[in-house]
Symmetry: C2
Subunit: 329 residues, 2 copies
């Protein structure tokens, strides 16, 4: 295993410290563990907390700041954060308006965030939650009942975060977050797996000409392997799955082409070249496109495409100001 690290049991902590030392204007670390919160707490609005295992950077600490998250909780690599961690995060950011938990649909994440929410409610903190499940590739997995939450989660952070900044109530922010979830779909593929530091070996094996279709974001295998094809054909397959799952016809969409970590930006743009052409041909209007690293899986070489169906409210909130390490608008 070749990695730029010091010790396997220090990767999460040294990452969070390195992030807070790089960007003190955005984030600070809680003393209790790997939880980052906004450097300047904002009162009088619903506070948003998200998180999950480490290894998805810039998610989730990279999205803490004005117009997005108020706290991000980082578990061990690809491992759910503990209820205590989430609870400390909630307590640190709680306002009178309440706290919305944005949870990706993994059994451990859902359980631990819910437990933390109950602990917070016992302290009279108002808590609500949404569960993101945008991955159209699989209906369930080793780690999930139902669909997995993947890159589409970033649109939930952005849009629900903007809604919260307007002074909306907890119920309203939750409803807007749920509207994003109802309208967002993602699918991904990979040509090189990643290695969890503590495991020391890749999460799956691939032959010289193979790709893994329907990957998640935790180094787990996808639905099946198939021969690597020209990327336009891969994009066609992904868009067929996404457009077959939700009716996007005649709508305006936000597009995200997300790197799994090691994919060169050159290839992401080549992906988007065809995504844009296919959508244009189908009469689906692209409102805004985001290409880059948003929800990664360490050094996995792969990509996902996310489509979010927009209405006027979602467009306005997508465009609203955001000022975080990894997402500025």
């Amino acid at each position: 295993m070749k990695k730029f690290i010091n010790a396997v049991d220090q990767v999460e902590n040294q990452m969070i410290m390195g992030m807070c030392k790089a960007y003190p204007q955005y984030v600070k670390k809680l003393d209790c563990g790997n939880v980052v919160v906004r450097s300047n707490k904002k009162e009088g609005k619903v506070a948003l907390i998200s998180g999950g295992g480490s290894g998805h950077e810039p998610a989730h600490g990279g999205f803490v700041g004005e117009g997005m998250l108020d706290a991000a909780v980082a578990g061990a690599v690809f491992t759910s954060p503990t209820p205590d961690q989430v609870y400390e995060g909630i307590k640190a950011i709680a306002t009178d308006a309440g706290v919305l938990m944005v949870i990706k649909n993994y059994t451990g994440d859902v359980m631990n965030f819910e437990m933390a929410g109950e602990m917070a409610e016992m302290e009279d903190i108002k808590v609500a939650k949404v569960v993101v499940n945008d991955d159209v590739a699989v209906d369930g997995s080793l780690y999930t009942v139902g669909r997995r939450g993947v890159a589409g989660t970033v649109f939930v952070h952005k849009i629900a975060g903007a809604k919260a900044e307007t002074g909306a109530s907890l119920e309203e922010v939750q409803a807007t977050a749920q509207k994003v979830i109802d309208n967002v779909r993602t699918m991904g593929v990979a040509i090189r797996p990643c290695t969890v530091p503590a495991a020391g070996k890749p999460g799956f094996e691939l032959g010289e000409d193979e790709m893994e279709v329907g990957i998640g974001i935790h180094g787990e295998p996808g639905t099946h392997k198939e021969p690597l094809r020209p990327v336009d054909e891969i994009v066609d397959h992904i868009l067929d799955k996404i457009l077959g799952d939700l009716d996007f016809s005649g709508s305006e969409v936000a597009v995200m082409v997300n790197s799994s970590g090691a994919t060169p930006a050159m290839e992401l743009f080549i992906v988007n070249n065809h995504v844009a052409d296919v959508l244009a041909e189908k009469g689906i209007k692209v409102y805004k496109t985001f290409v880059g690293e948003f929800m990664t899986s360490l050094e996995m070489e792969g990509f996902s495409v996310t489509l979010l169906k927009l209405d006027d409210e979602l467009k306005e909130l997508l465009d609203a100001k955001a000022d975080t390490i990894a997402f500025k608008a």
Copy 2:
């Protein structure tokens, strides 16, 4: 060779088209070839052009926009753009205030930009140039007389671009760009090489426990190989070289921890954790830090550290507004 592409001879063109389709609010492509310019030309200020081979994304198209570049020219992968390409770029962005060419120190780049500059001057366009040579690892290479220009170039784009927005003259913008060059130093290492699509095989080979020290950004080998060590020790070595090359004592610096393309953000933050500690210990004050992908080498797994010594002018220009695909301030 596993890549998300369609055809080796289409990668540059499809990348540029994909970038322009993703971000029409920032960039548009010239009809003549792989040259991108600001979507909205800004008159009355010095225009900046940069570029080089493709494969360094988001450099250079990702830095075209308000407060940074006016044009970026993309040659074939790791290959200098032609004089004609650069000339078309200069013509498209030229204003009465003139054009500054920001060239990275590679023999082909310097020659072709200079030739383009001469062609433009014959059309009565005022042209000046700076040559960036921030890499402390080597004094020359297969591709270079003198030091190579690497990630520090992004600080030149940012700061000279901000200077141009103030309405400064061509000579003033050139002088500020040169001040950045005089005060910026970079060094990098890699643990996995990259494969140029047209070559089909990696630019160098590395054993299971080896790293390449002193890498450039064109897939070329560095100064030597050595066993992979804990990353704090690698950072110590890089900072020794940089701090031994220019006197940073008592100064304020901007730090850039740049991914070669495939390095997980987790590891970049672990790098920064130690960079910040070492600088603090040496009494060098960090003014601002940037961690991410700025000047890459396709899917190379490596990183570089850049230090820029700041004065009041450079701080103000570093903080000035920038609105591009890959750099916002």
